[in-house]
């Protein structure tokens, strides 16, 4: 190819003395680098712009290969990727390369190339266009770094999440085993106390035995809550066995009697009005009721009665348990039904914080819910479920 020749005017307008806009000047001083490779891949023609950018003279560039202008890493990449790509599709576009300048500096560029072929398919020459891309490369690197950082953070969070979940599962399994193992000795204590009471002991011994019996009952309730919680968390869910044939009243009465035995000094007022049969899981409803009662006893004013109202009306069963005393703070209302929620009372009065959680799970399993209303002189928990 000729590297110079007669100028071809592109336009005849403009100032007579101004540099002519001709093809030669367009090639030499274009705002991009141009060079052409022979069929053997050697540079045969190169423009001024590319020489200026790289600091090489034309003579230094002609006869070299494109890959000779790259650093070693770039050469390997060129040989394994871009050279095959060029041969396969006849061109490549927007390829990122680092050209090594005469001063030994890296010049980040983007390159396009296209092959010119003869009729028989042989490569005649290949044209390459070069655009500087330093800023673009910097920006791309920043994006790549930001992405790498985000990926690393993601991995870190995932690992932490997995670790925490595993720890949580372990804790819940531990609770399940613990709860189960505590039941047996408790049953033995309960049987022992019953035996003592049957022997008609003196008043002092009988009082102590009843206290033990009350504590046993309370502890048994706590263990049941624990086990239910663990089962729910471990994926067992809360299963209920609904029984419509059994009357509800004796179930609730027994729960009241058990509480009364433990705190004979407290006044429990019960108003029961169950007119229609209700399909419930009796053991579960007893547990729910017992949890609500225990809650009222613990947090209510000891000098005031606890009022229980049970009714079936408008297709619903409602069981409400109300106590006097300081109200529940709005903040506490938010987390009342969360597992391991601890109330605001004295530490000695605290349970595990599972009572209300379990009660609400039982309510859900019956298709119902527990509402709570708390103001200056009364706090009332109401269980509502539809009568199907």
């Amino acid at each position: 190819m000729k590297s110079s020749g007669p100028s071809v005017p592109l336009s005849d307008g403009g100032e007579p003395n101004a540099p002519a806009e001709d093809l030669e000047d367009l090639y030499e001083n274009a705002p991009c680098g141009y060079f052409s490779l022979s069929s053997e891949g050697l540079i045969v023609k190169v423009n001024q712009t590319f020489c200026r950018w790289t600091g090489f003279s034309k003579d230094e560039l002609v006869g070299r290969r494109l890959r000779d202008l790259l650093n070693v890493g770039g050469r390997i990449f060129y040989e394994t990727h871009f050279a095959p790509l060029l041969r396969m599709q006849g061109f490549f576009n927007e390829v990122a390369l680092d050209v090594m300048t005469a001063a030994g500096e890296k010049l980040p560029v983007l390159a396009n190339a296209s092959e010119r072929r003869a009729q028989n398919g042989d490569v005649l020459f290949t044209r390459v266009t070069i655009f500087p891309a330093a800023e673009r490369r910097r920006y791309e690197r920043e994006l790549a770094d930001a992405r790498a950082a985000a990926d690393a953070r993601n991995r870190d969070l995932t690992e932490r999440w997995v670790a925490e979940r595993e720890q949580g599962e372990l804790r819940e399994q531990f609770i399940a085993v613990l709860g189960h193992d505590l039941r047996n000795p408790l049953a033995a204590i309960d049987a022992g106390v019953r035996l003592v009471l049957r022997e008609q002991p003196g008043e002092r011994i009988a009082t102590v035995a009843r206290l033990i019996q009350g504590s046993t009952l309370r502890m048994s309730g706590l263990i049941n809550n624990l086990l239910d919680f663990a089962r729910g968390r471990l994926g067992g869910g809360m299963a209920v066995q609904l029984d419509v044939s059994k009357p509800l009243k004796p179930t609730l009465q027994q729960a009241i009697d058990e509480i009364r035995a433990v705190v004979p000094e407290r006044v429990l007022q019960m108003h029961l009005e169950v007119d229609v049969p209700v399909a419930v899981d009796h053991a579960r409803i007893a547990q729910l009721f017992s949890n609500l009662l225990g809650n009222a006893i613990t947090h209510g004013d000891p000098l005031e009665p606890v009022n229980v109202d049970v009714a079936t009306r408008a297709g619903q069963l409602t069981i409400s348990v109300a106590n006097s005393g300081p109200p529940i703070s709005p903040a506490a209302m938010e987390t009342l039904f969360q597992p391991f929620y601890r109330g605001e009372g004295k530490a000695s009065q605290q349970g595990l914080g599972l009572g209300l959680y379990i009660a609400s799970e039982i309510a859900k399993a019956h298709g119902g819910r527990i509402d709570v209303v708390s103001h200056a002189n009364e706090t009332c928990f109401t269980f509502v479920m539809p009568i199907v």
């Binding site: 390997i76 040989e79 990122a96 398919g121």
Partner: protein, 264 residues
């Protein structure tokens, strides 16, 4: 037995011959690398083309960074393919890094490969004491950096439709979209596996009849490296091609075909 490899390695078999000739591509592209070479063997052989996991049309979900962290993982895949397709005494043609994958596979499954054709082989790219590989460790790091830079340029290079090339009708749009396109993370990992490999100790154990095809002016696997391979594989032969560069299967397919023909 279901043929897992057919999907996993995107295996394509054609040809009317009986003896399989397996073409294995190197780092950079996929089985299209053989498109000008493989058809010449379809009359006399059963040609088998495939993509290594992570390249071309392979099942990317099968990519496992631990398994493919060494060339053994790729060699295991070749052997697995051979077992599923019942290869006995077949010919294996491996380009670039696949030359060493073939060397490893042939030792893993004695009797599976009777002949190896190694195109531009290198048992180790990084120089070592008393060994010339052609690269320093730092230069290889530069390569891996360069891969990161071509994330975006790379996908953009794939995008343009092939329509502007009426003189290359054999290039379907589908080819343009998949040829050489690699998940950048996998490309980086494969580059690391390739250029950090050292299989010099495996060369003396090759029992298959071996032909080395050495290009002129190949910066990736130079003549000195090709000579080293010839010296260390017992009974191997070397043919010097006139073709220059690292991919004679694309730049001088006729010469490659002639050399392989005279060997098989």
């Amino acid at each position: 037995m279901p043929l897992f490899s057919l999907k996993k390695n995107n295996v394509h078999q054609t040809g009317s011959g009986i003896t399989p000739i397996v073409f294995s591509h190197g780092f950079g592209c996929d089985q299209n690398m053989w498109r000008f070479v493989a058809p010449a063997f379809e009359k006399d052989f059963k040609t088998v083309l495939f993509d290594h996991v992570g390249a071309g049309g392979s099942d990317l979900s099968a990519y496992d960074s631990v398994k493919y962290g060494s060339l053994d993982g790729y060699a295991d895949d070749v052997v697995e393919m051979g077992r599923e397709l019942d290869w006995r005494e077949v010919i294996f043609v491996g380009h670039s890094v696949s030359a060493m994958i073939g060397v490893l596979a042939s030792q893993r499954a004695p009797g599976m490969f009777s002949k190896l054709v190694l195109v531009g082989p290198s048992p180790r790219y990084i120089d070592d004491e008393g060994y010339f590989g052609g690269f320093t460790a730092q230069q290889i790091e530069e390569l891996l950096e360069g891969l990161a830079d071509n994330h975006m340029g790379w996908s953009a290079a794939m995008a343009p439709a092939i329509m502007g090339n009426p003189d290359r009708p054999e290039l379907a749009a589908e080819l343009t979209n998949s040829f050489c396109r690699t998940d950048p993370a996998i490309a980086r990992a494969f580059a690391r596996t390739t250029f950090m490999s050292d299989n010099r100790a495996d060369l003396p154990n090759v029992v298959a009849d071996t032909l080395i095809l050495q290009c002129a002016d190949d910066i990736i696997a130079s003549e000195r490296v090709g000579e080293y391979v010839r010296e260390h594989i017992p009974g191997s032969r070397i043919v010097y091609l006139k073709a220059s560069g690292h991919c004679p299967n694309l730049s001088a397919p006729d010469e490659v075909v002639r050399a392989i023909r005279s060997f098989v």
